[in-house]
Symmetry: C2
């Protein structure tokens, strides 16, 4: 959009720009929105159309029509809602139900059911999100194992289940049983595989990965373009009051659920945690349609979506409290205390539903639940802070590279071949991942293994220490020298770190569902485990050093590498997403021990400070800016010393603001203004000379009302006077009949003076959720500031391209 | 204050009413504030005076003075702050530091230290709050035991410590050792006491209680009247932007800490948890004085106080996350995300400081940490919900009775004898409490015992079940028949329930520090334990009933009475305070088991619903209303269909609004208006005829500026013209020199139109933290709405007495 299209008044609807907008990393023409199947359109119908409700929040009477005109008070796609209007509308509805409830028993029941519908909705969202998460976990687990082999007892068993049911499984070798056959075993018929079997397995692993990825990208492209990416940037934008129809629809839900399983199983470096938030929000949005209260009100619906996001994180990490805090800290925009309590309820129901499905067979909500047995020492804060620095550096590096790559995808021909891109990245990932056991396994299993504290009976390579049975007491193992297994594991982990750290940059933003919680955590967990083992060996071989002497005597169990892995995971996740409290609480809920909060907090804090010093934005905000969504960040303070005068339209050199007068313009005049300008609303003044503000009218409402009046009201012709006053203006008796439109006029537009500092204007926009604000000087109307103007101004002050803000 | 004193303009400063205000339950003339010792005054000096800073947020230049006039921009005691102005002031300061930091290294260091001062402050608050909490815990424990006896090894040992150090203590009888002597043993010299010893112990118990209570009430009355009560209602009000000087001062801190120990030790039915929040906030406020950033800005200081409140709850319950959520949900008004993260840090530091002091000798943060071993069954939700209903009913009953009693205290002669009142209640409590072992012990010990799950080795009366060693397997005890001890305990607990439930009504609000978390929890825990034991016995004797059959076979451990006690405690606490998420999270942090959240949540939800149906307000809000503080509740939605026109002053029949004109009034005119009216500010208009609004000026700033100009500027006489425009108005050359006051004029006052619904006005006041808002009609200034007007209107709409709102 070029700057010239702004002239007077400025607050254009941006319909003309909607065709070329890009979404989360991939070039996604919004013309593709038309590909969304009718099913989705249908379910989304209610997203922005209302059948009734009070239109003008200040009008106490309906004037020429008892029934409001259909369409008045609705929003177009890719537009910002007016929070104040939506909330007023809900209060009107509530008032009506309350006053009616005194009349009859039936109305009283209606009132009670209305009051409890919110809780019922939360229950349903919790149940549905929990069930879907369980389904996704089980399917992804099975399909990941399918890449390696198949169970002879039944192809629907995954590796673990297959061997559980086998009588020949021993406790030491839980993973080996004759019923589970690798593809090479199955195809060649030989039990023991040589080089040929390895190559065959390798080939089939890559083939399966490509097949899954192909299916995923084709499904996304073909049926639900919105199903790609993690969805969190868009959900943040939607929750801040933006309309993207179909983004949370039924079709998106179905395709996202299916393709998420495919993408995770394909072995790509992505996680299912972010997309689970999207899935939960889709559930929330679809279930809203069961209740008029939420179906018809954009603000109320967003309260529900905030709670749904909490439920999504709750099932993703098994952390209900962390989920609520995530929703509060990271995702939500308008989060009243009522929502806090309801979100908590939804998150809890979702967590318990998932637990009763028990997808991991361990009665836990997550694969990587851990229990540590040894406390940490104050001196260990040093390495923990080091991990924080690493996390911050990696986070900042990842965000820059990923954004640079996504921008390249948008601007070059690369964006035109999403399927090829997915195929190439999948092939590369699979080829590099197979030879290394730590990248071959699924990323969540890797994290689970890295977090694990080595016990006596652990048979994994990571726990292959040189045994010294003399010094073993109780459950805890003393520090020991690393065996060959640990040494080999270190090399493999270092390679895995490199692979994960780089391939994720190219993976996040492709046209498949992709979250980055898990890849970030994996990078951090590997780095942490490496550092942890290094510290452990250092303490073992040099326990006479001054720093170890005080707490690390020989034969004592003093360093837990698993804790280092966990701290590293928190640091990297913090560096990428810039989460703080919610991150620490989520991690705390994984361990359950209050004492481990301090290391986590130290790492998360360091990581945030380091990353913030290198770039202010988290990955989600960076993607929001990349896509030009109108998102007014609540965390950042606007700190420049500009005034409303400097931001408002029209600029000093431009022609004055387009206004309507309250009782002197004809239907023809107004239609002329409507066709000449593209602004989404017009201020109404007493007279052009006085410029005294009366109210504000939305373009959409005005068009609909004039059209409706021309059709239904007798005597409305082009020369009819339109008036917004209480009483018709005195006119000669020969003039045609007049049209009163006071009922669609907003009599309480927000105004600020031209001398108001922009920091206050930004605060008002943010806290009240405004769409536009009028500017006056000494009581005279002077100009207008829209949300888009505010965002452009913020971008300009931050030396960014103001034209990157695409929507209003 | 009578209604007539409101005329035009309405926004009077309420200095005339400050003498007769009552605080939290006791009649506390604010004339008593003068009793606050000079020490306190001094430390509080900074609370509302600024030495500099930009006064007018929109003024870009200082006009006749380079230095701002001292006193301009400060607040008087018992006034509401202007959040917008405070936040602007902080941003100005921040901008200045940032721009200067480019000039020199020293300024750069200043900038960095400024950025980290917030974290340092949090660290200090955490350390201080944790240390004080540890001190209070230890002293209260010792003094509570002092009422019963003394340790021969050293009088400074409490009962438990005394016997720990004794070689003759066995594990079974941990409480009995020859070194600990009851007063009767010490005075009579006999080991075994008969009736005489009992009477002697009884007498001395009451005597000590009276002594402690007398000391407490005398200290509070004599040195720090603000130290009484729980302090939470006042802290809520202060955080919402009200000034009460000395409320969080050094003197209040010292006296509150000392008297809190005395009050708890006296055995009165009160807790230390609420007052600990007040103590932590005092620490926060005092430590603010170390940093100019916080000393000089009311808004920034309130962020710190929010974090301090979180630290207070964190040490009170050993629940850092719960503390942060409590601060967010219950106490704070303005809680940006930055504060969330810092609060969490402060809460964590405080918790760890307390833990390293280890006041309970169990490495835990609280006396009543519990671990349960058996899961609960879905059918048990029935009794849990029943407990919720009980909690709700008791909560509503408690609030009503307590408020009625506090009102009686304020209005009758009762309020004149606070010392006598305390003495009578203490004597009554002690006399009734001694004979019953469950009321004789401290309330937190009682709760700890009630929460406890009976183990094999428990020797307490509550665990006196008929042993059946055949069916014992492992750690868990199967359900058994109650022995005589349990039966006796049930009767004693029932009596204790009655005593606690009634005496607390009269205790909360007396002139001693008193929290009601612990008494409420005790009432609920007793009720819960009674129900739990009843259920257990029912299940034991009737395990063939259909409802028990499925999960409660004989010999199984299926009902945990301790869990019932915990659920009951949550229900009663929820009924009294109406906490939701924070309550559940605090309780969750006590048990650590995610599965016990569901019963807690069910009880808390039921309790809130039942209590809300009987009365909307929690105890803190009720006390705020009782005291007439200007607190705009953020949780309640205003739902009446009134307009700004109906609320603004002047009313239609009154004379028009008092305004100043921008360039035609003399010094004399203004001084006349100032002396005739008591409004705290005046709108400035272009001319009286046009009523076009230019800005708003505060009375205090105007008085100070005129006085200063008369003293310092030459040629300023009574007939000098005061102007607020950029340039001096054209005047005849003979006229005296003019006075320009544009720099103290607020050029961006908030305005709404007269047709704005009050629900939106309330929202604006709440979200932006306004003090007043101007009302316009078609661009003409019409009237003004102050926070007090809004509160009065809300009270009126809720059929309450609007004159109960005392302050602006």
């Amino acid at each position: 959009m070029d700057n010239k299209s702004f002239r007077q008044g400025s607050f254009q609807s941006s319909t003309s720009d909607e065709d070329m907008v890009e979404v989360a990393g991939g070039t996604l023409d919004f013309s593709m929105v038309d590909d969304v199947p009718p099913l989705d359109r249908e379910i989304e119908e209610g997203f922005s159309s209302y059948n009734g409700g009070g239109v003008n929040r200040a009008s106490k009477m309906m004037d020429f029509l008892e029934e409001p005109i259909p369409g008045v008070g609705t929003y177009e796609d890719f537009n910002t809602i007016d929070w104040v209007r939506e909330k007023s509308r809900d209060r009107d509805r509530h008032r009506e139900i309350t006053s009616r409830s005194k009349e009859s028993t039936w109305a009283l029941i209606h009132r009670v059911s209305d009051a409890f519908s919110g809780w019922l909705l939360m229950l349903l969202i919790g149940l549905k999100a929990g069930a879907l998460a369980g389904l996704i976990d089980i399917s992804a687990h099975w399909m990941t194992d399918l890449k390696e082999g198949v169970c002879l007892n039944g192809f629907w068993y995954n590796h673990e289940h297959c061997c559980w049911n086998s009588p020949e499984t021993t406790f030491q070798d839980r993973d080996k049983c004759p019923e589970w056959r690798t593809w090479a075993q199955l195809l060649t018929g030989k039990e023991e595989g040589g080089a040929l079997a390895y190559v065959l397995n390798y080939f089939l692993y890559v083939l399966w990965a490509l097949l899954f990825a192909l299916l995923a990208v084709l499904l996304v492209r073909g049926f639900a373009p919105y199903a790609c990416g993690s969805g969190i940037p868009e959900i943040k934008t939607i929750l801040s009051g933006f309309i993207i129809r179909g983004y949370l629809g039924k079709w998106t839900l179905v395709i996202k659920t299916v393709t998420l399983v495919l993408a995770v199983s394909s072995g790509l470096s992505l996680g299912k945690e972010g997309p689970l938030v999207h899935v939960a929000c889709c559930c929330g949005n679809i279930l809203c349609h069961l209740f008029t209260k939420y179906r018809k009100n954009e603000a109320k619906r967003r309260e529900v979506l905030s709670a749904a996001a909490a439920a999504g994180v709750s099932v993703a990490f098994g952390a209900p409290i962390g989920g609520v805090l995530f929703s509060l800290e990271e995702v939500s925009y308008y989060f009243p205390l009522k929502t806090l309590w309801r979100s908590f309820f939804a998150a809890l129901v979702a967590a318990f539903t998932l637990r009763s499905i028990n997808p991991f067979g361990n009665s836990r909500l997550v694969l990587f639940y851990v229990e540590f047995h040894t406390p940490w020492h104050l001196l260990e804060l040093g390495p923990f802070i080091l991990l924080g620095v690493f996390g911050g550096l990696w986070g900042a590096f990842f965000i820059r590279s990923n954004i640079a790559w996504c921008r390249r995808r948008k601007t070059t021909r690369l964006g035109k071949y999403p399927v090829v891109e997915v195929m190439v990245v999948t092939a590369l990932t699979a080829l590099l991942a197979f030879p290394n056991q730590y990248t071959r396994m699924s990323t969540s299993e890797l994290i689970s293994e890295l977090f694990n504290d080595c016990g006596l009976l652990d048979s994994s390579q990571l726990c292959d220490y040189l045994n010294d049975f003399n010094s073993t007491k109780g459950d805890d193992l003393p520090d020991r020298a690393a065996g060959s297994g640990v040494q080999a594991a270190m090399w493999q982990l270092a390679l895995a770190l490199l692979l994960k750290a780089f391939i994720t940059i190219f993976t996040f933003g492709m046209k498949v569902p992709s979250g980055l919680f898990i890849p970030s955590m994996a990078v951090g967990a590997i780095a942490g485990r490496l550092l942890g083992v290094a510290m452990e060996q250092l303490a073992y071989y040099h326990h006479d050093w001054a720093i170890f002497k005080s707490w690390c005597s020989p034969g004592a169990d003093c360093i837990t590498p698993g804790l280092y892995a966990m701290v590293g995971a928190a640091a990297c996740l913090g560096g990428v997403t810039r989460m703080t409290v919610s991150l620490v609480v989520i991690m705390f809920e994984l361990t359950g021990g209050l004492e481990y909060i301090v290391p986590l907090m130290a790492a998360a804090m360091t990581s945030k400070w380091v990353a913030d010093a290198l770039g202010r934005e988290g990955i989600y905000d960076a993607h929001i800016r990349l896509n030009g969504y109108p998102f007014l960040e609540a965390k950042e303070e606007f700190s420049h010393k500009t005034l409303a005068l400097d931001v408002m339209r029209p600029r000093r050199t431009n022609p004055p603001l387009t206004v309507l007068t309250q009782d002197s313009m004809t239907v023809e005049d107004m239609e002329g203004i409507i066709s000449e300008t593209t602004y989404s609303g017009y201020p109404v003044v007493v007279s052009r000379e006085s410029q005294r503000l009366v109210g504000f009218i939305l373009r959409r409402d005005l068009i609909i009302s004039i059209e409706s009046a021309r059709k239904k009201q007798d005597g409305i012709v082009s020369s009819s006077i339109i008036y917004f006053t209480d009483h018709s203006p005195p006119l000669p008796p020969t003039s045609p009949s007049t049209l009163k439109l006071r009922n669609i006029l907003d009599l309480s537009p927000f105004t600020v003076t031209d001398q108001t500092p922009m920091e206050i204007v930004v605060d008002i926009f943010r806290k009240l959720g405004l769409r536009q604000c009028l500017v006056t000087h000494n009581g005279k109307l002077l100009g207008i500031i829209t949300k888009k103007d505010v965002l452009k101004h913020i971008a300009q002050m931050a030396n960014q391209d103001p034209d990157s803000i695409l929507f209003n």
